[in-house]
Amino acid sequence: MSNTGVLIEIDKGEVKDTSLGVLTAAAGEQIYALVLGDDAAKVKDKLALYGAEHIISITAPGDVAASPDLQAQAITAAIKEYDLKAVLGTASSTGKDLFARIAAVMDVSLVSDCVEIDITEKRAKKSHFSGKTFADLKINGDVFLCTIRPNSIEPAEAPAAGNIIEFKADVKDPGFIKIIETKKSSAEKLDLTEAPVIITGGRAIKAAENYKMLEECADLMGAAVGASRAAVDAGFAPHSMQVGQTGKTVSPKLYIACGVSGAVQHFAGMKTSKVIVAINEDKDAPIFGKCDYGIIGDIFEVVPALTSKLKE
């Protein structure tokens, strides 16, 4: 059993579900949950329930929230202090950024966006070539870092002590970069990369306002709404909603593609989803050859029907 850190992501005072999956990925090891800032007490019970033996509440002097470099320094100090041999996190925007910074500071291995990890054997599996292949990697070095693709590991309860330890990192900000503002998006939306269910509208959605139809259906499933490149290029949706090669890579439990033809570049962004459903008017659409369930039909009829069934 080795000392394994799990960097916890917290949103509005709650542990993100994706972080619980990462705790489960570390099951069997001596787990140190790493919490930046002062939310440790709030999330203690949840972290203990999912296997955290220790909870390290990390603080550092200076404006920690505004400096990813300072955050990386503070986490590095904790990794050294508690002799952590492996540190896991979520492959979210923030997670990927922070782990790459820590890897650079510590000069240790980092495997990004893994779908499987074996901490004892130091082996990981991840996508290469946009979901076309999986690479099995052997990780070298005494200490390693790993980010886990959201939703690839189902959280499982594994009660542990969850003792809070206060850790004040004695570190300094290199002063290179500073977050001067965070621009919120207009609507309160689920993050695509972390959503357990996604419903996507392709070119057949025809107009920006028709995404409302998908949003209504999404709300009933706790889903996020995505868009294909064709829909983004046509101006129906912002780039932040794009799934695929030049958009986001997602791996939800359920992916419902509405009026998406199924280009290779789209699949690159969602191929590792557990269940893929396609709804398309064109019976010859390539997507039907590569998904799990298909419905041939007009999305403007099928989606509302689906919404009303979900309400029942």
């Binding site: 946009s130 002063g175 970069i177 939306k189 689920l190 932040s240 359920l254």
Partner: protein, 256 residues
């Protein structure tokens, strides 16, 4: 301004990958391109130099064949290039960053180093950070907007669900380009011809005193992700279809 752009030579995203041995892939018959996000970096560098003067230098770590990708970047307006030659299909991020650092330092410091936000072959999202660590420079990744002002760069970076961080960074710096930063140009024929005459300096990876056997991560096996064999079609009236689908997702697949 002197701007470096780190460009990776990768299989075309539309190419189908055929395995070769346990850890490699067939690379002689498929088309290679500049990793798509790198193109946003090239475009940004070229437009900045068009506005402010200076030069754009492409730096690539790759096989001999990477010359075709470098010529493409030159056709977009880059002035010259450095190719660090390696025979390896997969060089880990740490060694790649060290090779890039050596090439950049041999050439002399620049004001900005662009990379893509990640490469579409190994998808490791870390080379730019390691390079920043080695060069002791600031780095911000997934940048979709950039403005330069008074020796500083102000960038925007998306952090999920449409939220954006506005970040101020000191120069020189490293910027990982994302879609949205610009619209990469299509080179015109005369630019393609001109690109053929531009200078590519070659450096042997083996001359850099970096040990390839020192990789932090080693490939043990590369395997194809099985394709789904085709959809189970759900027939019936629209109402029936919706009902069956909900039942399947809740009861059989248990994903709702």
């Amino acid at each position: 301004m002197k701007i470096f752009v780190c460009v990776k030579h990768v299989p075309d995203t539309a190419a189908s990958i055929k395995l070769a041995g346990d850890t490699g892939f067939e690379d002689s018959e498929i088309k290679f391109i500049a990793s798509p996000y790198d193109e946003y970096g090239i475009e940004e560098a070229v437009s900045l130099v068009e506005k402010n003067g200076g030069e754009v230098v492409i730096v690539t770590v790759g096989k001999d064949d990477a010359v075709s990708t470098i010529r493409g970047a030159m056709a977009m307006g880059a002035h010259r290039a450095i190719l660090v030659k390696t025979d390896s299909q997969f060089l880990d991020s740490s060694l790649t960053a060290k090779a890039l650092k050596a090439a950049i330092e041999q050439d002399g410091a620049g004001d900005i180093i662009f990379t893509g936000k990640g490469s579409v072959d190994t998808e490791s999202f870390q080379t730019q950070y390691r390079l920043a660590g080695l060069l002791e420079m600031p780095v911000v990744n997934e940048v979709s907007s950039l403005s330069l002002d008074d020796g500083k760069a102000v960038v925007e970076r998306e952090i999920g669900s449409g939220e954006k961080e506005v970040i101020e960074m000191t120069l020189p710096c490293i910027i990982g380009a994302d879609r949205g930063l610009n619209e990469p140009r299509y080179p015109k024929f005369p630019d393609i011809m001109k690109a053929k005459k531009k200078e590519i300096r070659e450096i042997e990876f083996s001359s850099l005193d970096l040990d390839e056997s020192n990789a932090m991560v080693e490939m043990e096996k590369l395997e194809l992700v099985p394709e789904r064999s085709g959809a189970k079609m759900i027939d019936g009236s629209v109402d029936d279809q919706a009902e069956q689908l909900v039942k399947i997702l809740k009861q059989d697949e248990k994903v709702l």
